[in-house]
Amino acid sequence: MAPVLELRGITKRFPGVLANDHINLTVEKGEIHALLGENGAGKTTLMNILYGLYHPDEGEILVNGNITAIKSPIDAIKAGIGMVHQHFMLVPVFTVTENVMLGEEFTKYGGVLDRAKAAQKVQEISDKYNLNIDPNAFIKDMPVGLQQRVEIIKLLFREANILIMDEPTAVLTPQEVIELFKIMQTLIDQGKSIIFITHKLGEVLESAKKITVIRGGKVVGSTDPKTATMNELANMMVGREVSLEVDKEIQKTGEIVLEVRDLKVLDPRGGVAVDEINFEVRAGEVLGIAGVQGNGQTELVRSLTGLLPAIDGTVLLSGQDITHSNPRQITELGTAHIPEDRQKDGLVLGLPISDNLVLNTYYLKPYSNGIWLDQKVIIETGEKLVKSFDIRTPSVFTPASSLSGGNQQKIIVAREFSRPIKLLIASQPTRGLDVGSIEYIHNRLLAKRDEGCAVLLVSTELDEVMQLSDRIAVLYRGKIISILDAKTASKEQLGLLMAGIIGETEKVSR
């Protein structure tokens, strides 16, 4: 029998870049095929070609053995190809049924929406694949994991046979990930095929039946998850030896640098985002804040760095009250901040790299005399930092916007680490970065810790928190529900805490 999907010699050129170079890929019916690669390896381009958003310069796509021209997403849907995007495309104030039928509405009496019929079909799909979705629930009331299932239903409603899932686990708790893998298994049992795009090696080994690794626009290898190891896959992805394990020396911690007492912060809509939390970070230790996205991490970090006013509580930096200080005062006291969204907060994308490297020090000597900027010093500093932090750029005059995510993040790291600091607040420091950049930033971060800097690491990547932290605080609905020693904490235990389930032991220990 012909494979359900076959890509033959797909080549896509962009000016100056060969994004896909004669890529061959075969997906059999009923398999989970993992597509693994760093950012910029060409995964997204390939999937956009498959989904009809780009047209290949060469090569052909075969669906069920027939050459199929996919010129637009409509063609892709017709050919039975559907995509679950990383960012969900759902209308929060609509019900599940309304979201699913959007664009393919059932009607009766020549134009009136037939919600009942659509709801029935949604229910059927939900039952068939064990999705456990109420067709009449509103999206806004559902947790992220269920919203993702609605996205899957949308594809099944349109009779997709090949499901492309783009980084589906990025927004899920560990428990939800397990649920998702179960659903994926059900889907393939029922004869669907899945292309699973990810950069998380553990998940690939756990779920996929076949792995294809892409690097630099080329297929560099296919392996069987039964025999492959994480290190092999990582080396294949990056093209050199990568160490996945972070070597962390045991270190004696020093005095308290950051002390947070009963801090309460509201989100922009007035809800309580950070609810009377307490913790402290000592010199030479990494305190990791684990938690599913949207549990108050953003507001906590913004409040600590002076960007969002606290309504109650105190924040002490080396004993000095900074609860109501502004960002500049906090920076000047020796705080570095790697913001959660580097493009929104951390960089001025239109400005050259040299300016971005002095974004919060430009007014100080030697970069300026108070009035006039000293461009010469700024450029020299820029060139020095570009070299020492290995920022890949044609020149320091290049606008930050034209660099890759990893290099943009290196600008921020270079800027924040190159001045004397005693506290580092790093929020999602490796979000969206490739394995090579992650390794680099992790090492830099631990180097700061070893220098005696207090590090507050906020991340939704549980693996990252576990690898880097000395202690782990779990944030759930604005409260720290537990602080664990990283050496003894298990992934399962943390996963349950992240979902808000406090076991008996923790309750007692509090």
């Binding site: 100056g16 929104k344 951390g346 960089l347 001025v348 239109g350 919060n360 108070g370 461009q375």
Partner: protein
């Protein structure tokens, strides 16, 4: 992305040049002006009855007539803007000073028209750099003219070396006040500066009407006018009549240079540009966005105020109603055309000034209404604002970076 660049090796020099050329903003600007002029020509031909008569004779004579009509119109526009070369030559040959001045007057008159455009264009451009849409330049010009003219006639006994700067400064302060109000409203209440500056325009227009009829009216005149400014406040003219060219043009160039220094060489400028291109990052970097917004509006208002003061101190020497005739609104287009860069503003102010001056004599000599210049400006601006049109027409490559220097945070809320 993969580092391989196989197809670039095959390219010859010309193709690489075309690619570079295609991607730069200047190409789009140049082609936008060119396309605007071309379509303007089509419009002139299409509104001339003789062209239709010629089409009745034959298709080719119609095309020929359309072509000559457009050429004649633009010919008149150009000679109106820079002078007639034959006349200039004849005047220099005759050696008569008055004849020479008359012959070269169109060129200098264009520079006279350019001067307020430079000031007002800088005002709007500075706003754009900080992410603010200053629609209020026209009102700020009026207030600048009012305060400037007041300082010109009401402060006696000063030598020109002091009186001129004082009067100009008064103009700037008046405009600055008119910018300060919307700036403060935006910073304190979030009121959108597009709305508030438009409102401030109307207040300025009516305020000047009232002042010209009442407190500032010249008692010896029947119609509403202010008294003449004192000779000590007049911006010196560099030639005798009829050339009105005065030192205001050089002041404008100097101010453009100062704005350039401010924006690109000082810490203040860095802060303003940061606020303009990414408010969040500016906050992150510890900048007080609110105060920078107010400062930017004050500076923008001050620059527009200088445009007003320049007009009354350099040209009119008194203030009459409706004197500005749209410099402030044109300058929005002009700042966009100049990509909000002081040098770009000076260049596009020259273009606008020459067009405006040329249009008058075009109307006199070939009977095409001056409105054609407004249409030209509108076409050029439309093409600048929607570069996709130009890129499609000329099959240009899409740019490799963000081409919008102007990011209007105010539009996003």
């Amino acid at each position: 992305m993969s580092p391989e660049k196989p197809q670039e090796l095959k390219k010859n020099g010309l193709a690489i040049f075309w690619e570079e050329f295609s991607r730069s903003n200047f190409t789009v600007i140049f082609l936008a002006i060119f396309t605007g002029i071309f379509l303007g020509g089509v419009l002139v031909a299409a509104t001339t009855p003789e062209v239709y008569d010629a089409f009745k004779v034959s298709f080719f004579s119609g095309i020929g007539k359309a072509f000559t009509t457009a050429i004649n119109t633009y010919g008149a526009l150009i000679t109106g803007a820079i002078g007639n070369p034959q006349k200039i030559q004849a005047a220099f040959a005759s050696g008569d000073a008055l004849l020479i001045r008359r012959a070269i007057n169109p060129f200098f008159e264009s520079l006279v028209q350019t001067t307020p455009y430079i000031f007002a264009g800088l005002s709007v451009a500075l706003g754009f750099r900080v992410g603010l849409f200053n629609i209020g330049a026209e009102g700020q010009i009026y207030i600048g003219a009012l305060t400037g003219v007041w300082a010109g006639y009401a402060i006696p006994g000063l030598p020109p070396i002091i009186h001129i700067p004082v009067a100009m400064l008064c103009g700037a302060l008046g405009g600055a006040l008119w910018g300060f109000v919307p700036g403060l409203l935006k910073a304190k209440t979030g009121a959108h500066e597009v709305i508030t500056t438009i409102m401030m325009n109307y207040i300025a227009f009516r305020l000047s009407d009232w002042l010209l009829k009442g407190p500032m009216a010249d008692p010896n005149e029947v119609t509403p006018k202010t008294p003449w400014i004192l000779p000590s406040a007049e911006l010196p003219q560099l030639f005798e009549a009829p050339i009105r060219f005065h030192i205001g043009f050089f002041i404008a160039l100097l101010v453009a240079f100062l704005v350039y220094l401010l924006l690109f060489k000082t810490t203040w400028g860095m802060e303003l540009r940061m606020v303009g291109s990414n408010t969040n990052a500016a906050q992150y970097a510890g900048i007080n966005v609110t105060s920078r917004t107010v400062i930017a509006m004050v500076l923008a208002g001050g620059l527009a105020g200088l445009a007003g003061a320049n007009e009354v101190l350099g040209i009119n020497h008194r203030l009459i109603p409706a004197f500005s005739s749209g410099y402030g609104f044109d300058s929005i287009a002009l700042a966009l055309l100049g990509k909000s860069h002081p040098l770009g503003v000076v260049l596009s102010a020259l273009l606008f000034g020459f067009l405006r001056n040329g249009a008058r004599s075009m109307q006199l000599t070939v009977g095409v209404p001056t409105d054609i210049v407004s249409i030209l400006q509108a076409l050029i601006l439309a093409f600048i604002a929607a570069p996709a049109i130009i890129r499609t027409i000329y099959r240009l490559k899409t740019p490799n970076q963000n081409e919008d220097i102007v990011s209007l945070r105010s539009w996003k809320g």
